[in-house]
């Protein structure tokens, strides 16, 4: 097969390990490239791109309040990316994080409605978190059950699950739980996450989750099982792992962490439940997880990066009248460039030449 007569002009070969420096050079290069393309978009609006980027940095990092707001955007992204990591490691394409977040928030709200005012703040928050874990976990478990049992397509299944739970919350919001004009009542202070350093303490929770997830994936039996199943289901069975069971367990875990994320958004940021509580975080976090190569520490960086873009674009809208959706464009470009650049890290291109032919012959 190496001897295809009409050797194409460019052949691809898997690269042996590339040096760490070169890998980072390519990744940073791709980020720069995406920002440069972003410049063109800003030019269309008739603004100076560099000035615009300056405003974005200023608006997201250039002040304590701005920084706090940026971190607030990054928290759920990070939490949710952490949740997705084990599924993707297992090659289980869970794109239902959006719904699992919503389910978690719904679970927590249920507790808050029942027990707010009857319990002191700490036990109430703990119970809410627990309910979020259970609700999110179950929402993740359902598609995993059908995947394990009948091999249903998990990508499409988890996707559909999102809209069902969002609809259910919408019904509660406009119906039984409505307080005024399609809104639910705000939680009392007891049911709200306390602030630490000016930001709700969700940031501490997700940072702890980063450590736990890193530890879980690297040092526990379950993490090991997930990694083996992701590489070869046959080998996993050979080694005595119950593939279907591990799938369900991992999806419960993933849903549970999404649930915690939902609880954090609910109780930390919003203070009330609404059907759009996840607001796309579940989808964006998938790209965060993937671009971080499922490494929890890298997720901190990537989620901050996306948060800076989002917050910066908001500032841009108020200061320069550039639509805030610019952030989504730049985030999209960033994702495209980073997804594409992995190719150049994993493969090398061999251009047709006499030398390479000889090389091949020698093999």
């Amino acid at each position: 097969m190496k001897h295809e007569a009409n050797t194409p002009l460019i052949r691809l070969a898997k690269r042996d390990a590339m040096s760490g420096g070169a890998i980072w050079a390519i990744r940073v290069g791709s980020i720069v490239l995406s920002l440069l393309i972003g410049c063109l978009v800003i030019l269309i609006t008739g603004n100076n791109p560099f000035k615009a980027y300056g405003v974005m940095i200023q608006g997201s990092l250039g002040g304590k309040v701005y920084l706090q707001q940026t971190i607030k955007i990054a928290i759920p992204l990070l939490g949710c990316a952490l949740a997705i990591a084990p599924c993707f490691k297992m090659r289980f394409w869970n794109i239902g994080a959006e719904g699992q977040i919503t389910a978690g928030a719904l679970g927590a709200t249920l507790i808050a409605r029942l027990l707010d005012g009857k319990l002191p703040s700490l036990p109430l928050l703990l119970l809410m978190c627990l309910a979020a874990i259970v609700a999110g976990g179950i929402w993740g478990l359902i598609p995993a059950f059908f995947k394990a049992k009948w091999n249903s397509n998990e990508t499409l299944f988890t996707l559909m699950m999102n809209y069902i739970i969002i609809g259910v919350v919408g019904w509660l919001q406009n119906g039984p739980w409505e307080a005024r004009q399609g809104r639910m009542a705000q939680f009392s202070k007891d049911a709200t996450l306390p602030k630490v350093l000016g930001i709700h303490c969700g940031w501490i929770i997700v940072l702890v989750l980063v450590l736990l997830m890193f530890f879980y994936m690297r040092y526990t039996k379950q993490g090991f099982e997930i990694a083996v199943i992701g590489d070869s289901k046959n080998t996993a069975s050979y080694a005595g792992m119950k593939v279907g069971y591990v799938m369900m367990r991992t999806m419960f875990l993933s849903g549970a962490i999404c649930g915690i994320t939902g609880f954090i958004i609910l109780s930390g940021a919003n203070g009330t439940l609404a059907s759009n509580i996840a607001n796309g975080v579940g989808f964006t976090a998938i790209t965060v997880a993937w671009l971080s190569q499922l490494n929890p520490f890298a997720m901190i960086v990537i989620s901050m990066m996306l948060a800076i873009l989002t917050k910066g674009a908001d500032t841009l809208q108020t200061q320069m009248n550039v639509p805030a959706s610019l952030s989504n464009i730049i985030i999209g470009l960033l994702l495209f460039c980073m997804l594409g650049c992995e190719f150049f890290i994993n493969f090398k291109m061999i251009f047709r030449s006499r030398k390479t032919e000889k090389e091949v012959d020698a093999k």
Partner: protein
């Protein structure tokens, strides 16, 4: 009784009007998925189609002023939306087919990018036009009214049912039938299906896998984008309305599953989903709340998904290589 029948006819007409954008979105995604590409960026593609389609008509009318011709305007809108969607899908194809990126992640990235571009374009046009983008009423009717003469639509009962829809519905019908014929009655359609089912076999039989994937995904993306344009120009009456358009793309992905990847099924499938989208307005049932109506399409889709995996009927499965990468070296 007449009241009920008239109500029913109104419901069906409205269902068709809401279903038509879905039909295009779904048909495009069916073509894409038949090649084995799972493009989850339909939501973004439809946003782009909506914004650029509207932009196309707006600037066309601005250019020619009162001489604007309805047929030309429709063609301009279709073309603008198609190009936008094709371009978005080209990015997807390049990343997944050539650069071997993961299809799920790339599709979601496209969703984010496309909604961003659509929203950005819509807003920018509004800002540039001084706060309000719309087109003249004379032109609007071409997008929302039936192309048939009054004599036909006035036929009692069936007139409205058969002839009372926008031109896009009839175009969608033709497209669905055309795609059905293409996939089932032509050689090239058969080759495309082979690529989506078993790319290694197609490759061995001398079919260019990459070219088929590119072509189907790009054309499919263009068709989906037209759906977005139809939503904005007919349902949203030519005003950029991202809230209305939000979620239509995902519904189209669901409808692909519901229709079991069959173009002809999209005709009734889209009408059904369209009905579910608006039923709460026309047929409010006291015991079914609005928001629960809205999730019905997704619930039935999951039921279909489970049933097909349960029954294991080989003819009702997703294309066998859907979402999976194919690279020749790994043969």
């Amino acid at each position: 009784m007449t009241g009920f029948i008239n109500g029913l006819i109104l419901l069906i007409v409205a269902a068709i009007s809401y279903g038509t954008p879905l039909m295009f979105g779904t048909l495009g995604e069916i073509l894409t998925e038949k090649s084995g590409n799972l493009n989850l960026g339909v939501e973004g593609i439809m946003f782009m189609g909506g914004a650029f389609g509207l932009g196309g008509v707006f600037y066309y009318e601005k250019l020619v002023g009162e001489n604007a011709n309805g047929v030309v305007a429709i063609l301009v809108a279709i073309l603008a939306a198609f190009i936008a969607g094709a371009f978005a899908s080209l990015i997807f194809s390049f990343l997944t087919t050539t650069l071997r990126a993961n299809q799920n992640v790339t599709g979601l990235a496209l969703s984010i990018f496309g909604t961003g571009v659509g929203q950005f374009t819509g807003e920018l046009m509004r800002v540039k036009a001084g706060g309000y983008v719309t087109i003249s009423n004379g032109l609007k009717v071409f997008f929302s009214n039936t192309p048939f003469p009054k004599a036909l639509t006035d036929i009692p009962y069936v007139g409205q049912l058969l002839f009372g829809h926008s031109v896009f519905f009839y175009l969608g019908l033709l497209l669905a039938i055309g795609m059905h014929l293409y996939l089932n009655k032509t050689r090239s359609g058969m080759f495309l299906k082979a690529v989506g089912e078993n790319p290694a076999t197609a490759d061995a039989a001398g079919i260019n896998v990459a070219r088929n994937k590119y072509a189907a995904t790009i054309i499919g993306g263009g068709i989906s984008a037209i759906g977005g344009m139809i939503y904005i120009t007919s349902i949203a009456s030519c005003v950029w309305n991202h809230e209305g358009l939000a979620g239509v793309g995902w519904l189209a992905v669901a409808l692909v599953i519901f229709c079991l990847w069959r173009p002809l099924s999209t005709i009734w499938g889209s009408i059904l989903f369209g009905a579910l989208m608006i039923m709460y307005l026309r047929f409010p049932l006291p015991f079914i709340p609005t928001d629960i109506y809205k999730i019905l399409p997704y619930v039935v889709t999951i039921a279909v998904l489970i049933l097909t995996s349960l029954r294991n009927n080989k003819d009702k499965q997703p294309p066998a290589s859907l979402g999976l990468p194919y690279f020749r070296e790994e043969r």
